[in-house]
């Protein structure tokens, strides 16, 4: 019985793994850099810009990702004037990027605020430009500060990828569900649980390495 389960599960899980890792990697690749810009806008002295970004972050953090996925895929095309029917892949990409950019931006905002004002003043007195100060003086210190929180979100992202099932996409959890239905067995879920644990273990190791890379100074 287990051999049959595994025989059916493995190819389906491998296919699902592509979707899971694809969503994970694309979301990280786009939302991490984007969130630094969003955090800067949130901290903008222009109150209108800061408020608009604040509302965006509030909506993204205040509603479930599942709902956001459903809205973008099933609901957005019904919005008058600006409505558009996104494909399944587009909807998944947009929802994940919008959601995770908001979370990452709040983490970066906290990190930027934690940097001593003396660092900005030292850079100013030395004649460094604002952009150079941010990229070379502030951001490296911010990254060290926010790494543990970013790490937590990265791990959460792996698990959140399972939400794409709601739009009919096939991830590893869907593979488990399908096999479980065929054989009336629970074991596919356990196997997939182990796959999640392996992914998380690899990521934890990687994140630890990145964190320790910044341990060269205090």
């Amino acid at each position: 019985m287990e051999a049959k389960v595994l025989k059916m599960l493995v190819p389906m899980a491998l296919e699902g793994l592509k979707a899971t890792l694809g969503v994970f990697a694309l979301t990280l690749l786009v939302s991490l850099p984007l969130s630094i810009g969003v955090a800067k806008l949130r901290l903008s002295k222009n109150k209108i810009i800061s408020k608009i970004v604040g509302i965006y972050i509030y909506i993204m953090r205040g509603t479930p990702l599942l709902l956001q996925l459903m809205f973008i895929f099933f609901g957005y095309y019904q919005v008058p004037y600006i409505g558009y029917a996104f494909s399944r892949e587009q909807a998944i990409f947009i929802a994940f990027v919008l959601n995770y950019t908001a979370y990452f931006a709040e983490i970066f905002r906290g990190g930027i605020n934690s940097i001593d004002v003396g660092q900005y003043e030292a850079a100013m007195v030395l004649g460094l430009s604002k952009s150079h100060t941010f990229m070379k003086i502030i951001l490296p210190q911010v990254i060290k500060t926010v790494m543990p929180s970013i790490g937590n979100e990265v791990i959460t992202l792996v698990k959140d990828t399972s939400l794409i099932y709601i739009l009919g996409a096939s991830d590893i959890l869907k593979a488990a569900r399908s096999v479980s239905n065929v054989y009336a067995a629970f074991s596919p879920y356990i196997y997939i649980g182990v796959v999640y644990l392996v992914i998380t273990a690899v990521l934890t190791r990687l994140l630890d390495k990145v964190e320790s890379k910044y341990n060269y100074y205090r």
Binding site: G118, A122, M124, L126, L128, S129, Y217, R218
Partner: protein, 227 residues
């Protein structure tokens, strides 16, 4: 005259920090600004170094106006001129404000390389010479957290000196130093002054003032007096 301050006033909200302050500093002169806490010494220094915008008056550094009054409004130097003025005046912060993620050499070279005021190789040679002069040889690759208070102070001085400023300002330079390090800093300041650099020191350490000052400005009740 390398620095001329005329009728400078500054307030925070309704609190007047100082009003109508005027003084000048000559090349190679060591001027100490002293006064009790809260008399506005550091605010005055921050105005001179462009970290704070005064309400009224003018500040002229090497014949370039950092700010001046026009039609009752304070006018600041434009971006390019401001860049040149900033290179004429250095500041050693009370907390040093070294960049913690950069080693000593990187701290020294960062601004000079960014401002492209020389080739990277020449900048490095200058930094090595400065470190030697300030008794920091062998500390090139150390990070700020690996240095003592006195060493951090000297790195901060070296960093400010990298841009060859005409004026070097110190905010409470002896506040966290022991006797021996204090004497070392005192010697460095005299050495810099003897090479023509004007020095402005803000402190409430009267012993240090008596030891080093060529001219003393006392801040009290929003005004200054000369000794």
């Amino acid at each position: 005259m390398v620095l001329s301050v005329e009728n400078l006033s500054k307030s925070f909200g309704k609190t007047q920090v100082f009003s109508n302050i005027s003084f000048s500093v000559n090349k190679g002169e060591i001027v100490c600004i002293r006064g009790k806490s809260g008399e506005g010494k550091t605010t005055l220094l921050r105005c001179i170094t462009g970290l704070e915008i005064p309400d009224k008056g003018s500040i002229k550094i090497n014949n370039m106006y950092l700010c001046k009054e026009k039609n009752n409004l304070i006018q600041y130097a434009q971006k390019e001129e401001l860049q040149s003025i900033r290179q004429e005046i250095g500041l050693v912060f009370q907390a040093f404000n070294l960049f913690p993620h950069m080693n000593v050499m990187e701290n020294l070279m960062e601004a000079a390389v960014f401002l492209k005021n020389d080739s990277v190789e020449n900048i490095r040679t200058r930094a090595i010479k400065l470190l030697k002069r300030l008794d920091l040889e062998g500390k090139e690759n150390s990070y700020p957290y690996q240095l003592s208070g006195g060493q951090k102070q000297r790195v901060a001085i070296a960093r400010a000196c990298m841009l060859n400023p005409s004026i070097l300002c110190f905010d409470e330079p002896t506040s966290a130093l022991d006797e021996q390090t204090r004497n070392q800093i005192s010697k460095i300041i005299r050495d810099l002054s003897s090479q023509g650099m004007a020095i402005i020191i803000v402190t409430h350490d009267n012993g240090f003032v008596d030891e080093i000052a060529q001219r003393i400005i006392t801040m009290k009740d929003r005004k200054i007096t000369f000794e």
